[in-house]
Amino acid sequence: MRIVIIDDSGLRATVLEEGLREAGYDDIHIVPPRGAFVARLERMAPDVVLMDLGSPSRDTLEEMLTVSRALARPIAMFVDQSDEAMIGAAIDAGVSAYVVDGLRKERVKPVLELAVRRFNAFAKIQTELEEARTALADRKVIDRAKSILMNQRGLSEQEAYALLRSSAMNQGKKIVDVAQALITASDLLGGGL
């Protein structure tokens, strides 16, 4: 069974490909949806095409599936339209799957289930990564605000932090927002830090 993954994000495609290989599928190709990707895909004659539901290139892909004369058999979305739970899970996870006509659903279902699990896992990693990035960025802002206070008001690091925290609590704001306001004000006043 030849599986083509159309994906822009190198990482997500790799996560999915690894999962499929571990499960014993070995004819897997990754195609980014750029330029003449449709012609490439046509030449590959895939049995299953997996694509991110959020990809703006889905309309381009579907048009190819509708008009292609090169594909021996028609390809349509999902394989078992009656399996609403599966389709719901796929859409929630952001997976769209196109399957060649005549492929038995018992053969395709495990691929789809795996794609759903991997897409969900990837989304979780993304969220965690995003949170970690935000946390790091916040810490840098707070550190800069602290050093402004330490320099301008001769406070220790602990005192500077305590001052930021109590201002935030008094104003009902996040510490990082107070810190950002302080930095902006300091820049405007030519604080130079």
Partner: protein, 404 residues
């Protein structure tokens, strides 16, 4: 008690009525909390609606008909009780290509028939078979483009290459030289013009003066089972649409749509379609096109069954569906004037007395029979003068050469 509704949309200027219903409180006044789900492809918008992730969608009218006829992946009966706009498309072509057309752009846009013939000549001069981007096979724009090309004897399936790509990727594809032009809803044509990549070649409003664009589509089953939220939503949209049409609100509307939750493009680009002041070539003064995009006046939102049938006639013409009385009835039934009437019965929206009319027969603004209020229909001519009589569908179809 607020009712929650999820509605999928694509980042386009004609999602305005939905955005305004949410952001200016019209939905809330009707007891609705609407969650607008930004989507980047028509395929995903369709899947979200068909598989029940959302209750309604900002959909291309021909796509709603195609899904119902089983022409676009999973078949599902869809219902469109409300039109979100008419008009709003523009065909733009690369500057080099447009050089072979009438250089006076105002004259070029005012004469679609002449321009179509110039376009036919320009095809022969171009370095390759021109690649024209369309947003979907079942888009109003693709259907209008085919109609326009064919008027000059151009076979859209043979003489040009129609390439499907989502509106948000059109400008990028122009810049990369992957396409030679495209037809799409605003602001994408204006964005390509502003980037100096293209100039206007035809405006939707000059091809069909009142061209059906986006509809609000539901799954028919859900619509039938939930009359109360459907009616409340339609009332909220009718008030939002009147707000959108008011020129005094255009600037605020452009600003609202320019945000990242909606179209995420500069407000001054969005304002052009709303004000009907089209910049047709980078640096040119704007051209007045007051009917460039309509939301409310002239009963714009009313889903005339004859319009669904006109769309169907074009799907048949291009061999996308086999003609049969059953298919025609299915297509016509997608538009739901009965639901529109029920929902807006006690409002001040002018209510047409009929559900079908001749399409393309109104030359000058025309006062027509209305159950309430003053209703004036705007000019709705096709540029080639054809008139569509929904009672004589077969005769109309016989007027086109059979599909290859």
């Amino acid at each position: 008690m607020m009712t929650s509704l999820k509605i999928a949309f694509l980042p386009l200027t004609d999602a305005a009525v939905l955005a305004v219903a949410r952001e200016r409180g019209f939905a809330e006044e009707e007891g609705l909390a609407i969650d607008l789900v930004r989507t980047t492809s028509w395929a995903t918008l369709r899947d979200r609606l068909v598989f029940g992730q959302v209750q309604a969608a900002h959909m291309l009218a021909p796509l709603a008909i195609a899904v119902t006829l089983g022409l676009s992946q999973q078949p599902a009966a869809l219902a469109a009780p409300y039109k979100l706009n008419v008009n709003g498309n523009m065909l733009v072509m690369a500057n080099d290509f447009a050089r072979a057309l009438e250089p006076d752009i105002a004259a070029r846009l005012a004469d679609p028939l002449g321009t179509a013939h110039d376009f036919a000549a320009a095809i022969g001069l171009w370095k390759r078979k021109p690649v024209i981007g369309v947003v979907h096979r079942f888009s109003s724009h693709a259907i209008m483009l085919r109609y326009w090309l064919a008027s000059a004897g151009i076979d859209p399936d043979r003489d040009v290459l129609l390439r499907v790509l989502p509106p948000s990727l059109t400008v990028e594809a122009m810049a990369a030289g992957e396409i030679d032009g495209f037809i799409a809803g605003e602001p994408w044509g204006s964005a390509a013009i502003d980037a100096g990549l293209a100039e206007a070649v035809a405006i939707g409003e000059r091809i069909w003066r009142r061209g059906v664009e986006k509809v609000l589509a539901f799954r028919t089953g859900w619509l039938e089972e939930n009359p109360d939220p459907v009616d409340r939503l339609l009332r909220a949209l009718a008030r939002a649409a009147a707000w959108c049409d008011d020129p005094a609100h255009h600037e605020a509307l452009a600003h609202l749509l320019s945000g990242p939750r909606y179209v995420d493009q500069p407000a001054d680009l969005l304002l052009r379609a709303l004000d009907g002041r089209v910049v047709a070539r980078a640096g040119d003064p704007p051209l007045a096109s007051p009917d460039f995009m309509l939301f409310s006046r002239e009963a714009t939102a009313f889903p005339w069954r004859s319009q669904a049938l006109w769309i169907y006639s074009q799907l048949v013409r291009w061999g996308m569906v086999d003609h049969s009385p059953a298919h025609a009835a299915q297509a016509a039934a997608v538009f739901r004037p009965d639901v529109f009437r029920r929902a807006l019965a006690d409002s001040d929206v002018p209510m047409p007395g009929a559900s079908m009319k001749l399409e393309g027969a109104v030359e000058l603004p025309l006062a027509v029979g209305s159950r309430r209020g003053e209703l004036t229909l705007g000019p709705d001519r096709f540029f080639d003068g054809r008139v569509f009589d929904p009672e004589r569908l077969d005769d109309f179809l016989a007027g086109f050469p059979p599909p290859r």
